[in-house]
Amino acid sequence: MPDSTLFDETAERLERVTSLDRLEARGTLRIALKQAGFDPKHIRANELVVLLERVLPQELTARGIGDADSVVQRLVASLPTTGNGESNESPESVFRRLGGDG
């Protein structure tokens, strides 16, 4: 599953398991991503897991979604477990190499 569609698929699942409509689900997820310093196009599944568990619950609670933890568990369970390697050409990877940490 390409990471570029991970955001879309996660937003769709969020819409299905909550009372949020499409715009609200995508907006909530986008806000959580921005708070955590991620670009929706480039986040990887293993990073999304941590973000969903640590940032999304408070966003859901703020939007009146009860049982946020259960929602998060269902989203996490549906995420892929493979293809989580960092691209060698991501800015983080490049700057890590430039500093000799490569």
Binding site: A36, N46, E47, V50, N84, E89, F95, R96, L98
Partner: protein, 255 residues
């Protein structure tokens, strides 16, 4: 005294660019990475040889005008190639595949090339490459505008990434050392942007051009900032940070 400060700032700028640039080029030999090659070559060409060559004839007062002119021209080519390599680095690393970024890269590089070629063709014997007075002055301003755009782009992207990585670190992801590297690279490129602004102000503002001592001091101070931030960004320290490419659920936030 001011001249001495100016000289030290310039030397710090050139030495840091050469040392860090060569180090990164050696890294590029090992990793075969294009980004390393681009930024290493940019530092060596523009920060090192180009900047040094742009000033050498001004310090070497007994140099024949024709020899000074040749040195200025070679330095200008080294500079403009170095700047272009930096623009490619920013585009390639931060915004590859993005249409607006590609357009910005092309426009900036075309303007830079036009300014550089125009400067080279119109610089007259006896004129300084940094402070021309004839037709070369207009082309210098075109080149400066392109340099300002490219380095400002680098600065914005770097600070943005530093901010993103710091936010990630708060939830246990991201790498604080790499975040600091982006931050210092942002400081470095911002200082370079201010050097271009300083040069442009000297060309455009009569009260400043009549009193160049102040711009020399400002450039010197910015040279120290570039040297320090460049070293902080890309000189490896004794400890290395683990690659956070993968993370496990429940890992503790980074310090």
């Amino acid at each position: 005294m001011l001249n001495l400060v100016g000289l030290f700032g310039l030397v710090a700028f050139v030495v840091a660019s050469l040392v860090v640039g060569c180090r990164i080029l050696l890294l590029a030999l090992r990793t075969r990475g294009l980004p390393e090659t681009l930024i290493g070559a940019s530092l060596v060409l523009a920060g090192g040889f180009g900047t040094g060559g742009s000033v050498l004839p001004l310090l070497w007062t007994t140099l024949e005008p024709s020899a000074a002119h040749v040195i200025f021209q070679i330095a200008s080519v080294a500079n403009h190639v170095g700047y272009t390599l930096l623009f490619i680095f920013v585009w390639r690393v931060f915004r590859t595949g993005t249409h607006w970024a590609t357009a910005l890269f092309v426009a900036t590089t075309v303007a830079l090339a036009a300014g550089g070629i125009g400067l080279g063709l119109t610089l007259e014997l006896g004129e300084s490459i940094s402070r021309p007075e004839g037709p070369a002055r207009s082309w210098l301003l075109v080149s400066l505008a392109a340099r300002f755009t490219g380095y400002a782009w680098a600065s914005i992207e770097s600070f943005r990434y530093a901010s993103m990585l710091r936010r990630r670190a708060r939830i246990g992801l991201g790498d604080p050392a790499t975040a600091r590297r982006f931050f210092y690279w942002g400081v470095c490129t911002t200082a370079v942007v201010l050097i271009w602004v300083n040069l442009a102000a000297e060309q455009l503002v009569p009260s400043i051009s009549e009193n160049p001592a102040l711009t020399h001091v400002i450039s010197a101070l910015l040279g120290f900032i570039v040297a320090g931030s460049l070293s902080a960004a890309f000189f490896p320290r004794g400890s290395t940070t683990p690659n956070p490419a993968t993370t496990t659920v429940g890992s503790e936030p980074c310090a």
